[in-house]
Amino acid sequence: MVFSGLPFLLLFLPLLLLAYFVGRSVPWRNGVLVVFSLLFYAWGEPVMTALLVAATLLNYLCALAMDRAAAPGAKKLWLLLGVAGSLAGLLYFKYAGFFLDTLSSLLGRDIPFSAPRLPIGISFYTFQILTYTIDAYRGRVPVQRRFFRLLLYVSCFPQLIAGPIVAYGDVAQALGNRTVTTEDFADGMGRFSVGLSKKVLLANACGKAVETLLAGGPRSVAGAWLGAALYMLQIYFDFSAYSDMAIGLGRVLGFRYKENFRYPYVSVSVADFWRRWHISLGSFFREYVYIPLGGNRRGRLVTARNLLIVWGLTGLWHGASWNFVVWGLYYGLWLLLERFCLEPALKHVPGALRTPGVLLVVMVGWILFYHESLSEGWRHIQALVGVGISAWIDDGVREVLATYTVLPLVAAACCLPIVPRLKAGLERHPLLNGGAALFAPLLQTALLLLSLAFLVGQSYNPFIYFRF
């Protein structure tokens, strides 16, 4: 089930909220939420729901055993068992085919293996489980003694299948004790409607335009640029929309999730971009991979090694293929270059001048990300400068500009932090602020209705991040 699907909007969400708010006690609400969350997951993955429950149970038991174990060695053993068990599922379902393909290429002989279907959201919920087990081992969070609370943390539907990756410590308290104010409800629903409209009105339209421009590879220089630019917008609105909806729904249910995107396309450096893009993934790798490896405190060489490991893994997390690895390493190299070479020089350059350069770097990254093979990506990058392509403009570009005339402008404007600045400005004027409070729900209502209208007739509706 997806947030932008009619079964979710017309049945699941209203029925869940009805059942959720019928009872006031936390156990009732937890029970409702677990049942609905498992139903939500089972709707898309009926069989693989067992895997999710099994992974949760394993880590629940490991954490209990860790807690009881007196010797540090035994604690570590339980930790390793929990981590290895969780990662085994991810490795088997997501990476076994990729590794065996690579191995068979290296050995020059065929290794028969039928790759299993990737369970939805496995990359997200595996990392969530790991935050619990590792933090419990580190003593940063108390061990959860109630299995259903841990199951609720892992399976909680708003963040289950496409993030954000919520660290256990961020919601541990809310699992046992939370309240929902009317403000939480109103703001959360508002945030959800904004996310829904970003997905349905912007991301899907950008996706259609990208398909027109890039299906079969770019056909002109203008097509290569416009296609790449629109893909940048599509992936941002697609993923950040999901995060908006998840954060909004979380708030309605009494959970406070951290922000996952902070206007990444206004970044002034590549490092800044990754502090604004998919923040929860960056935090996970920093907290559980980069710092344990030594971070940046052991000299330049170790820092470089650590960065490349983290970014290689970040690429691999996004997909089991070499172009994702290259995409990750591409960012790793840029970050190294920035940290050790460019930073001193760029310090004095105004941010407004640095942003276009960052956007160019990011756009090339998304080109690698978009295409299914490195050679296709490379051809696209060449097409940007007119290599291997003779036409300056093609019919696809004309069609996209005629069909989606306003879309790129609206989408680009929505990438800028206009709303928070407007909000901050309004807050200084009580009268205007009152007007905004009156106007915002109406605007959100219009967005919701418009999104519904588009959803009804829209068959094109995939969430890009589901494949991770």
Partner: protein, 448 residues
């Protein structure tokens, strides 16, 4: 202010729940064709353990909800209005060309094969009231009469369909490669070879409503339109195969501002269908009945109640017509001939019904016709009836045709029902370039 915000969001949930519950209650359980979207709308999924475990039930439920959501047409119309408002204005021909491409892309494949069955019973009927010789009305256009400009947009091996403007410009709507025309000729010749010696095959492609309405709306800018493919096709087909230029047939009626296309739908009106019928009869050297020789039920409000809403004229037959659904070469179910209470295109013979139709005309002429076409055939079939004892009709497009229901190939139907003449009646989304016609179902289902 806080209460106001909460109240509004609470209303959202009420609205969403109402829509959900109403959809569950009201959405049709059966799959049904959508003429407007040119596809089958999803049926309610069947609940079974296997369907749940494979996820088929869930994906089926999503499709069913999306296709059956309450006020679906209004939602879609609203979305389309917004989309149009945010886009640059596109001229009608470009829009029509896009629509043709989209519909062609949608024309799907059919299901696997099944076995044949026995033939239906014969019917007794009075002779046809048609005059033996001349047509009662002169066709509105000579089928091959379009004047040609000195220079045509297509040269050499290709044929085109293009618009000529009063300022001398031309705009190509579709281009037909020589190989496609040759292949179309082979298809038509193959059908002709299955008919008796005096059998006839008639092929006509009508411009889509979007093109026709653009012609009417901007008649002062248009000098005319030309379709070349028909002449090229006629030169390649065998004796007994007649190619009618649909664009040429309908153009004079458009010039006169006749109501031959609906404004709110991509189909033609009964009057448009009659023009083709009259031209077809003239082309075959047969008499024809006039449009006004039939009584019509007139329903208003087609396409909603807006300023562009349509009026639909639904003809009454001269003799009572029996209308059957055929399956496996047998009459499976009798259904109404016309749906006089409807104010939409499926008022004509109830819309496209799978897999075969049989109309027993109530006349005795000793001949049987078969129409193979898209939804344009539904308004057309009525006018053929006085010429035949029975008219069979089928739409072989993937979203309608079910091979296992048909139970036999087209050839077997021709043989079993003694078909004398075959009419191919299409709109321009199923033209000579359509893979469906030259390589797909039209040939694939001939023998199986």
């Amino acid at each position: 202010m806080k209460r106001y915000g909460v109240f509004i969001r609470f209303l959202w949930l009420c609205l969403l729940l109402w829509l959900g519950v109403m959809t569950l209650r009201e959405a049709p359980r059966e799959a049904r064709p959508s003429a407007a979207e040119n596809r089958m709308l999803a049926a309610a999924p069947r609940l079974s353990k296997g369907a749940v475990l494979t996820g088929d039930f869930m994906s089926g439920a999503e499709s069913w909800l999306a296709d059956g959501v309450v006020l679906r047409d209004r939602w879609i119309e609203g979305a389309q209005r917004v989309e149009r408002a945010l886009a640059l204005p596109v001229d009608a021909e470009t829009e029509a060309a896009r629509m043709m491409a989209a519909i062609q892309a949608e024309t799907g494949e059919a299901e696997p094969t099944a076995t044949a069955a026995r033939s239906p019973a014969a019917t007794e009927a009075p002779p046809s009231p048609l005059p033996a010789a001349e047509a009662t009305l002169t066709p509105t256009a000579s089928p091959q009469s379009t004047a040609r400009p000195e220079a045509t947009p297509s040269g050499g091996q290709e044929a085109s369909f293009w618009i000529q403007y009063t300022d001398g410009r031309t705009k190509t709507i579709a281009t037909y490669p020589e190989k496609n025309i040759r292949r179309a000729a082979e298809v038509l010749n193959e059908y002709r070879s299955l008919l008796p010696a005096d059998g006839r095959v008639l092929y006509a492609v009508m411009p889509l409503a979007a093109l026709g309405n653009a012609y009417i709306d901007e008649a002062d800018r248009r000098a005319g339109w030309t379709s070349e493919a028909e002449d090229r096709l006629q030169a390649l087909v065998d004796e007994g195969v007649y190619i009618l230029n649909g664009a040429a047939v309908i153009e004079p009626a458009l010039r006169r501002g006749e109501y031959v296309y609906f404004r709110t739908d991509h189909h033609w009106t009964a009057r448009g269908a009659w023009h083709l019928y009259a031209a077809a009869m003239a082309r075959l050297g047969l008499p024809s009945l006039g449009y006004d020789e039939y009584a019509y039920t007139v329903n208003r409000g087609m396409g909603g109640g807006g300023p562009r809403s349509d009026t639909i004229e639904i003809p009454h037959p001269l003799q009572p017509v029996r209308s059957y659904l055929l399956e496996k070469l047998r009459q499976n179910e009798e259904i109404s001939y016309m749906f006089y209470d409807r104010a939409d295109y499926p008022a004509y013979v109830g819309g496209t019904r799978t897999p075969w139709r049989q109309f027993v005309s109530g006349f005795h002429t000793g001949r049987t016709a078969l129409i193979i076409g898209d939804s344009y055939q539904n308004a057309f079939v009525h006018y053929l009836l006085p010429h035949y004892d029975q008219v069979l009709m089928t739409d072989l497009r993937g979203m309608y045709y079910r091979e296992e229901q048909a139970g036999a190939g087209v050839q077997k139907y021709i043989e079993t029902f003694g078909v004398d003449d075959v009419y191919f009646i299409f709109c321009s989304s199923t033209d000579v370039n359509s893979d469906f016609f030259i390589n797909g179902q039209v040939t694939r289902y001939l023998y199986r």
